[in-house]
Symmetry: C2
Subunit: 382 residues, 2 copies
Amino acid sequence: MQRDVTQESSFSLKARDGEARTGEIVTPRGVVRTPAFMPVGTGATVKAMFPEDVRASGADIILANTYHLMLRPGAERIAKAGGLHRFMHWEGPILTDSGGYQVMSLAKLRRIREDGVTFQSHIDGATLALSPERAIEVQCLLGADIQMVLDECTPFPATREEAQTSMELSLRWAARSKQAFGKLAAPGQALFGIVQGSIYGDLRERSAKALIDIGFDGYAIGGLAVGEGQDAMLDTVSATAAVLPQDRPRYLMGVGTPVDILAAITRGVDMFDCVMPTRSGRHCQAFTWGGRLNLRNARYAEDVSPLDPESACPAAQYSRAYLHHLVKSGEMLGAMLLSYANVQFYQELMARARAAIANGEFAAFAEDVRRRYRDMGDIEDG
Amino acid sequence: MQRDVTQESSFSLKARDGEARTGEIVTPRGVVRTPAFMPVGTGATVKAMFPEDVRASGADIILANTYHLMLRPGAERIAKAGGLHRFMHWEGPILTDSGGYQVMSLAKLRRIREDGVTFQSHIDGATLALSPERAIEVQCLLGADIQMVLDECTPFPATREEAQTSMELSLRWAARSKQAFGKLAAPGQALFGIVQGSIYGDLRERSAKALIDIGFDGYAIGGLAVGEGQDAMLDTVSATAAVLPQDRPRYLMGVGTPVDILAAITRGVDMFDCVMPTRSGRHCQAFTWGGRLNLRNARYAEDVSPLDPESACPAAQYSRAYLHHLVKSGEMLGAMLLSYANVQFYQELMARARAAIANGEFAAFAEDVRRRYRDMGDIEDG
């Protein structure tokens, strides 16, 4: 992909259908069509996929994890190698998280203070520190096009008081993140704030408004999909989106299933990331236009039909019988093909969502997908 | 690849350089340029590689294992799915072994009788039988373009008497294999005999002559690379090749390192197979034009040079630092890239060997590769 001539990032809306929106984030490394799904490239690789295939699947942008990369191989080492894009052969835009979420979920002996968080690496036990300033420094060393403020992902459940204390700490960290970003970032790089406040609508509103006062290029909704359930998640998304400015992209972090993504698009969200397509691909699960399939199931042993005849993905043209054979045999090619097919399914889902919004048919489209996943998906689950 | 119009298989020599030969095996599914290296697609997959990339690496033909496929998913099941080519998305020629070697090396409770061999599956313990007739039936069910007679791969070491008894059993099985092949094979399919006789030159000669009397489309040299050492292997290859007809392809089974392959080409061998490029790729080892590298070695952590600047393989353009990171992190992409780069290195080796033979420069080429592997390869080994 050619590097775009622009040195600025911008967001423009092309169409709306109810609260659902379609538009474009323009970055120096290329255009991100929204609603966008970002495959997760945790440790500088979208697991079990060649970067060319991630691109061919339709992905405009990928996500990489600051926590994983600062531990291994190290941000300074990636910077020496010419930055993350060059290191991993991905020329398009990259969004990096701040590392906060994985510090909470993976690291050992965490200690959170006003200044930041210290923790032990889950790989070798080394003691490391992450502050709002260091999180930005690391993301700049990686060369991330869209960077995230360091926040505390409030655990669920949280009392109102816990949620408020945590949210206010995240706000102070957001302000410090923005200040560090102003000093370190290259032209065209963008910084997103992250709304917290657990499932308390008024706390979410206060968090969003305070972030808007600080001023960010986009706004993420964090601290969801952590056990609160779908209804609480979607209510919180609605309450938050209502406060966010129309002219900035909105990013629901860590979500999710095809049905959850469409429900969030209905409520005005523009960006998503989730390990589900790749993790499922390594665990014999396929997302298809006919629903979710478990390829370990013996019913596929002699099913010579393609994995997903409705998909344009090369990997989805392999027969279910062959994929069944591969996953039963523990062959790496099974994980490779299912990861590719799943990532492309998510991209096709977003492409159809964008077209449906542009045509004013999003509600019918979302209902159609819900029906496909209700009819076939649950049978195969687990 | 288009299916060739011919319905016959044939072999023609294009050039010789000493005993080294270059030519073409023409099959209904395409041309195999010799000397040829066949990547091993054990269980209907060249491990960790998309079939498109196996083809793009320069491979004209792959090998698949009858033993593995008859156990899982079963030959009848593959036949129902339209044959092995369609099942695994490989349209070029496929050579299948007879299953004999894996029965000896993998199966449990083997019992060899005149009629054939019974054994227990190493996967689920099921009792199975393999006779010369069943081995051909299975290979025809798979739709293999080049099939192998069932033989007993004589264990090493073997006394002269053991080697002779075993070789004579293999000869009787070869005659029965040819008879079964005559009844079952489709037009254009070919059957190769397998010379046995351990490291006893006169037994090898008797085996070869008896097989020639039966008459096969090509002749394999079996029972080598089983611990006899390089000198004994090459002496046996020389003694056997001297007896084999010039107008039939010669196939050294299960060999080997780049240096061993070139030494065998020097002695008149046309075809090879080995798991080395793919197995090494899954174990952090790379074959390059600069020698063999172990990517786990910390010396590569900040080496931003390409894996192999002399290779045209896309996978060999990734930096050593990135590959080091991937293999240290246990990422599947590491095995994917190294398998691809290794398979393509073997194909580039064969392409250069063919060109060198055509130009009368094979000895100098082989010496150059030996030097590269002596200078760099051994340091990294193990």
